[in-house]
């Protein structure tokens, strides 16, 4: 087991390295750098001005060298100007003494995530603050999504082909067919607009960042939860129907155990193994939903940072965002693998 986790962690590290390099490559293509230079400097820069801006800010070096600097395995760039020294590890312009004291390496290995050109702030503070917002959103989503999906799935799978099964299955197909931007728009139209006149909820979740209430936070949570719910419910149903046809359930019925007891004591535990994996693998999709819903409801979380960073080619912020999302994806995969073994003793990892 220890070896398995170790090997998976190695693969995880390699994946994260490859992915960040791809992001690095795409964001550092020349047209993207030109766009960055023009948004940071001014829009009427000549080609020479762009080139000199890129050179004086350390963007003109070869791609691999820059990636090494970001990782912290190569010394950060430095430039000597008339005013003093500038460099990767220095904020603003420094004098000769400060320059001598500044560290040579400053990449993520040293805990320095860089500086956001969009928000003019440290990347680590932005990401941690926004992750907090999104983490709360995700928590609420999971609290609604998982129990209701499991209940729907178990109820539907209990008696295959019954009217309950048919209607619940159709409902779960309906929710998987409704992407967040469709259900969100419909919810806003029905529950918040003055045309329909219900006005039960608020159409934006901006105030929910400081003071989340049922009124301003329920719709975004529901929008994300619904899309994932149908899929988990269908998986639970499939696994439940399979368990209900198993031999030991038939034996229990022939012994005269009540249906209620069969479902709760015999079937449920075995039926919940498969949905556990599915729930864990839903995390990457939740991340997608978060980006859409945060844009739709104007909730400034991690997804909003992603959109802002990508729209403004904020290289270091984008890299941090991709590192965080890759880690989330890979850690949930690892947990689902380990949890699967733990829940189901019939499977052993060789």
């Amino acid at each position: 087991m220890g070896l398995f986790i170790l090997r998976r962690s190695g693969v995880m590290l390699l994946t994260a390295l490859c992915l960040t390099f791809i992001v690095f490559f795409l964001t550092n293509l020349y047209p993207n750098l030109e766009k960055l230079a023009k948004t940071q400097g001014n829009f009427r820069m000549s080609d020479e001005a762009v080139a000199s801006w890129l050179d004086s800010n350390g963007y003109a070096e070869p791609m691999v060298v820059k990636y090494g600097q970001w990782l912290g395995v190569l010394p950060g760039w430095t430039r000597e100007t008339e005013d003093g020294f500038t460099g990767r590890c220095i904020t603003g312009t420094a004098t000769a003494e400060e320059f001598a004291e500044a560290s040579t390496f400053c990449g993520i290995l040293q805990g320095d995530w860089g500086y956001s050109t969009r928000f003019k702030d440290e990347v680590s503070t932005i990401v941690s603050e926004r992750l907090g917002n999104t983490g709360f959103l995700m928590l609420c989503v999971l609290l609604i999504m998982v129990p209701s999906a499991l209940i729907i799935g178990v109820l539907a799978g209990m008696r295959e082909g019954s009217a309950t099964d048919r209607s619940l299955s159709t409902a779960s197909i309906l929710t998987t067919a409704t992407p967040e931007y469709v259900s969100g728009v419909i919810f806003i139209a029905v529950f918040t607009s003055s045309t329909v006149g219900l006005k039960w909820f608020k159409g934006t979740a901006t105030s929910a960042m400081d003071n989340p209430t049922f009124e301003n936070f329920f719709l975004p949570v529901l929008t994300i939860a619904l899309y994932g719910m149908g899929y988990i419910a269908r998986m639970t149903r499939a696994s439940m129907t399979e368990v209900m046809t198993a031999q030991y359930i038939r034996t229990a019925r022939l012994k005269g155990v009540s249906f209620h007891n069969i479902v709760l004591k015999h079937a449920l535990r075995n039926a919940l193994i498969a949905p556990f994996t599915v729930i864990m693998l839903q995390f990457p999709w939740l991340l997608n939903g978060v980006v859409i819903v945060e844009t739709l409801f104007n909730y400034k979380g991690f997804g909003w940072v992603l959109v802002e960073a990508a729209g403004n080619n904020d290289i270091e912020l984008l890299l941090a965002v991709s590192v965080v999302s890759v880690v989330v994806v890979l850690v949930t995969q690892l947990i689902s693998d380990i949890g699967y073994v733990y829940l189901n003793p019939r499977i052993r990892i060789s």
Binding site: K35, A177, P284, T295, V321
Partner: protein, 404 residues
């Protein structure tokens, strides 16, 4: 003129869609009449769920096709008519001339364009991209997944790692990185198109060769003919105005313009390529899993004993036996591709801003949602019903294919 009542609007829309209803009636009458002779497709008409799903899908397919032929649309989807901005459904057209359709059936959007016509034209945007993208994703996934599952070993490790790498990417981040005008200018999507579109050629080439290599005469005639045609199409697809890649700093020569029948605008190409790119790893994983399962069967062992080549076994023994799950996944994948295209439109990526596709229309409409509902809701329901139809169709197919 008086504005139309709700019933009149519904009636006029139903009348406007009459070619679609006629086609649907013919299709259903024909299919139900011959359902015993039509294999899996015919069996679909035994399951009510599958029939409803198929009906929804075909409704949008016919709407898209007839809409592209300008049969259903009442107005030009891009023309702005003054005085029709944000007007409610059923408003009479201001200053209507002889020959103009006198009403905006579903109202006007915030740029005074007809919502109904944009909805119908938007169906064509989806119908022309989504199934093609799913087909290409399947070609890539099958061509790589079969050998990965069949041979295993190092090849499998490398390909699986690459697939997991792409799957670990948040889809929206990938879209934001790939589908921008700056990336189009560097030619990265063209390189990706050149690589991804090779897979259908490889697939068809290997498919025909492995089947007919024992009959050299037929093969020597068939293979160059088919491959020549496909390669010609491939070159037309990847070259634009005589260039494979055309950036300000350098360019690579492609097929001369005289032989190039169609050009794909850079914006559409990048959307298409990214959607294929995102979908193929999932297909790869499914095909690989199915291959791992099927290669232990007796008929595969029998083929190996007969001395059949590995590619013959993969393509003519394993693949046909994996078709059930693959057909089901194909329907689901078209639905997922539709959702992805909508997501791209929703974030304003790739497609031109005036494009009538549903995602962009929803995005335009949501800004005024608290006051005007009618521009955003029709495309939202359209997308919902199409994807729902595809899911129900997949469900029906799964049920019927399990009955064998």
């Amino acid at each position: 003129m008086e504005p139309l009542s709700t019933f009149e609007i519904a009636g006029r829309i139903i009348y406007q869609l009459s070619p679609v209803w006629i086609s649907l009636v013919f299709l259903y009458a024909f299919s139900i009449g011959f359902k015993r002779k039509l294999g899996l497709y015919g069996k679909l008409f035994d399951s009510p769920i599958g029939m409803i799903g198929f009906g929804l899908v075909m409704f949008w397919v016919f709407t898209g096709i007839y809409g592209a032929m300008d049969m259903i649309v009442t107005h030009d989807p891009l023309t702005q008519v003054s005085g029709m901005k944000n007007k409610v459904p059923g408003t009479p057209l201001r200053g209507a001339e002889e020959g103009d359709y006198p009403y905006y059936l579903l109202g006007g959007d915030n740029l005074a364009r007809d919502v109904f016509s944009r909805l119908v034209k938007g169906a064509w945007e989806v119908i022309k991209i989504a199934p093609m993208a799913a087909v290409f994703a399947f070609m890539v996934g099958i061509t790589l997944g079969l050998p990965a599952g069949y041979y295993g070993g190092r090849l499998d490790t490398i390909l699986s790692f690459a697939a997991n790498l792409i799957l670990a990417f948040p889809v929206i981040l990938l879209f934001y990185l790939l589908v921008t005008p700056e990336i189009v200018a560097t030619g990265v999507p063209n390189y990706m198109a050149i690589v991804l579109f090779v897979f259908p050629i490889v697939f068809v080439g290997v498919l025909l060769n492995s089947r007919y290599y024992t009959r050299p005469k037929l093969r020597n005639f068939l293979l160059p003919l088919v491959l020549g045609l496909i390669i010609w199409f491939y070159l037309q697809l990847v070259s634009n105005g005589g260039y494979l890649i055309n950036t300000p700093s350098y360019s690579i020569w492609g097929l001369p313009s005289a032989m190039d029948m169609f050009d794909i605008p850079g914006g559409i190409l990048v959307v298409f390529v990214s959607v294929v790119f995102v979908n193929s790893p999932t297909v790869f994983r499914i095909v690989r899993g199915l291959t791992l399962d099927i290669k232990t069967r007796d008929y595969v062992a029998a083929a190996q004993t007969r001395g059949e080549g590995p590619w013959y076994i993969m393509l003519w023994e394993i693949l046909p036996n994996a078709r059930g799950p693959l057909i089901v996944d194909f329907c689901l994948r078209i639905g997922y591709t539709t959702i992805l295209l909508g997501t791209l439109g929703f974030f304003g990526l790739g497609l031109p801003p005036e494009s009538p596709d549903w995602g962009s229309t929803i995005n335009d409409g949501r800004k005024l949602l608290s006051i005007y509902l009618h521009p955003a809701l029709p495309p939202a329901f359209a997308l919902l019903t199409l994807v729902l139809g595809l899911n129900l169709l997949a469900d029906g197919l799964r049920e019927e294919s399990l009955k064998d």
